[in-house]
Symmetry: none
Subunit: 126 residues, 4 copies
DNA sequence: GTGGTCTAGACCACT
DNA sequence: GTGGTCTAGACCACG
């Protein structure tokens, strides 16, 4: 486990996104125990306080819950996890489409561009 | 002219993007004179230093050029403007596709999602 | 028997309060035997150490007494129980009035507010 | 300006409450500038990071807003301030009445107790 | 000068 | 061993 950090976004936000993705793609499942703050800090070479901040935010978003003295756990509500996925995808989609429209692209153009981009990626794999 | 500012992005970047878009969609044309810093600052209720910074960056990207004693002008190179458009679109596209893939969406899913989103927008207009 | 735990207060304190209330309202009477630590721990799904701590504190407050080999018992001094009731009520009252005054409420306002709140509760019952 | 700190509650929460009260009683008015983090830290003899934490939370509750590079301001929405007052009073009231009822006090008892407590306070002043 | 973030290291309460 | 809080001190971006 390692993250490539981008200097423009706070580390704690990048870790948040990383964890959210881990949950969405199922590497962390509903109810799973999350590694201890200090453990993650060591693994990611990040200060424990920064990790702590990450999980404070995730807890506020009800993605993670703390059981005192025991540790942190992924929320056990499966529906919450689906919500996050939809929310993150919706945000990506919204930003993309709005941005393209502001650049003057028509809806049909946008579909074409995405299709091409995706097909090229497929070709790369072959 | 007014911008809704987003607290998470530096204001000067938001103004930069705004101006780039104005150029791309043709509200500001190649060679056009750009309003004076003080004027824009008043209009947008922004610290003049911030506007100054905006144009410094735009100049570094060769989108804007200063003619001493005359003011600032949009670059007269049409090709440069096309470059910016492609660059901004490419960035949007890249971030979108990468993000969707990290959420576990397959390429075909992505096309479907975009198509639906765009068609709904079309319906809204009717 | 079950308690809804509030994350902001230590669990052992919440159990302490719960037991004090049980004593005050008479569900546990002076001299009654208190269930064994292990039993309570199972029932409440709590670490036995936490229950242990609860009773340590209750013993220190002389609300509970241990008879070696026999188990733990509610104190047999009725007066002690009245003391606890007054103490808890006084604490509640003090915190409430001080808080309201800090919010700028006058003494007369406080009485009015309490009266209204209580009357509404009565209405709900009808 | 000084706060007496209670060891059982995190400092940042105590400062939060203090600030909320200052706003409610009008010492800080809607739209007012709030002293700089470092300034407050000096005044209260508290680490600036702790003050920072305080305002992060207040901002999340939309009681305070940050204007980048300029400082922090009390929200300019008067209605929000009334909301906070009602919320804080409601919380105090709820905790008090629920607590008293759990101790076995009847509604009429509660009114009587509050009335007496308040009248004694009035006597003290004379 | 303003807030935002991060590191380092410490202490505490809880389980 | 777990998270929660706090201090100290530093650096950065922003206006």
């Amino acid at each position: 486990m390692s993250i490539e950090f981008d200097n423009n976004l706070p580390i704690y936000l990048q870790i948040m996104n990383y964890i959210k993705k881990e949950i969405i793609i199922g590497n962390l499942k509903a109810g799973d125990k999350i590694p201890a703050v200090r453990e993650l800090a060591l693994e990611l070479q990040i200060n424990p306080n920064t990790i702590q901040r990450t999980f404070q935010e995730l807890e506020r978003e009800q993605i993670v819950e703390t059981r005192r003295g025991l540790g942190r756990y992924v929320t056990s509500e499966e529906s919450k996890i689906m919500d996050i996925k939809k929310e993150m995808a919706g945000e990506l989609l919204g930003r993309f489409i709005q941005g393209m429209q502001e650049l003057g692209y028509k809806n049909q153009d946008i579909i074409t561009i995405v299709s091409h981009a995706v097909q090229e990626k497929d070709k790369d794999k072959e």
